[in-house]
């Protein structure tokens, strides 16, 4: 299973949820599969999907899912310590770990060698860390979303590989405003 197939499989679970999606191909694939106003597509700031989702989850009472990648988490690993110590129960970090920098040509990351994000997350203080296959991801994500007492980090181990997609045609402020409208904060759209 590659990222595109996984994102497709997750649709029924995340369709109504607030999702912060990682920059590059993850966002472009998600956009192509099923564009939704409750999906916040990152157009810059690689590494910060986990952090943006955390800030949102700390500010509202709805479930928030950060979809991140192994390369991006490696770039901002300190935020796992913030998540381990501060994440509220409405927060789920889903790391799609294909051991490659997909958006830049599938160069290998360290998670294909000695680095285990599961161990890093646990060592950082995250208490509910699940590592699973792509096929098991939906079920684990549903479990995380329905647990009202705990936050989760899910690491979905899949194969590398991408499908042809185009850049997201939406203006950043449009992405911002329709997302905030979904939360109930924008009335003029």
């Amino acid at each position: 299973m590659n990222r595109f197939e996984l994102l497709k499989l997750l649709q029924k679970t995340i369709q109504e949820e607030l999702v912060i999606c990682n920059i590059g191909l993850p966002s472009q694939e998600l956009y192509q599969i099923n564009d939704q106003p409750n999906y916040f597509y990152m157009l810059g700031s690689m590494g910060l999907s986990s952090s943006i989702g955390l800030g949102l989850a700390l500010s509202i009472n709805k479930n928030v899912i950060s979809i991140d990648g192994d390369g991006s988490v490696l770039m901002n690993m300190n935020t796992l310590a913030t998540i381990g110590n501060r994440a509220p129960s409405n927060y789920t970090l889903l790391i799609i770990d294909n051991a490659s920098y997909g958006s830049t040509g599938d160069q290998k990351t360290f998670t294909g060698e000695r680095t285990s994000l599961k161990d890093v997350a646990k060592g950082s203080g995250c208490q509910n860390v699940i590592q699973c296959s792509g096929e098991e991801t939906s079920e684990n994500l549903q479990k995380a979303l329905s647990d009202k007492n705990n936050s989760y980090v899910i690491i979905s181990k899949i194969k590398s590989g991408n499908v042809p997609v185009k850049p997201i045609p939406l203006n950043p402020v449009t992405i911002r405003d329709r997302f905030r409208k979904k939360i109930g904060l924008v009335s003029y759209l």
């Binding site: 700031s45 952090s51 500010s59 509202i60 935020t79 402020v173 904060l185």
Partner: protein
């Protein structure tokens, strides 16, 4: 403590209701005040760049966030400021302890101080200088200004202002 108390109170008057910090000796009193404050969210974080992300998320959730940091933190955060906060037009307040300004005992801090304002100017971030106690009341308007312009604003608290705030 009086100066720190006033700064936090003006930030809150300006609408700030979500605070992060990457600690600095000059921010220590503000951190102590915020740790005891039950009205607003506060947390220390390991790195400024992730703070920009957390603040972006807090803004999406209707907060007016403030990140407190040394001026060195601006250097750690340039891409996230431009390609997240400014790209999506997100109001965030940067409360910056301006290390390396006159009175600073650590010579090496002068290096980052010498480029701090040029970086902020290059990023077109409005700057409020707080050099003396009578400047502090302007923090309220500067914080509100972030919402008006839908982007980050900076407050630079220089060494002299903060050093005697025991």
């Amino acid at each position: 403590m009086k100066i720190s108390q006033k700064i936090i109170s003006k930030l809150k008057d300006g609408g700030v209701d979500f605070f992060l910090s990457v600690p600095c000796k000059l921010l220590a009193n503000m951190i102590t005040i915020l740790e005891a404050d039950k009205e607003v969210f506060y947390s220390a974080i390991p790195r400024e760049e992730e703070g920009m992300g957390i603040c972006a998320g807090a803004y999406l959730g209707n907060k007016l966030p403030c990140i407190m940091m040394q001026n060195t933190g601006i250097g750690n955060s340039v891409n996230s400021i431009v390609s997240l906060l400014q790209l999506y037009q997100m109001p965030i307040v940067f409360l910056i302890s301006y290390r390396g300004t006159p009175g600073e005992p650590v010579g090496a801090q002068g290096a980052m101080a010498s480029v701090t304002e040029e970086i902020l100017n290059t990023l077109r971030i409005p700057i409020l200088h707080c050099n003396k106690e009578s400047d502090i009341h302007k923090i309220e308007t500067q914080s509100k200004h972030a919402k008006v312009i839908e982007g980050p604003v900076a407050i630079l608290c220089n060494f002299d202002l903060m050093k005697d705030d025991q």
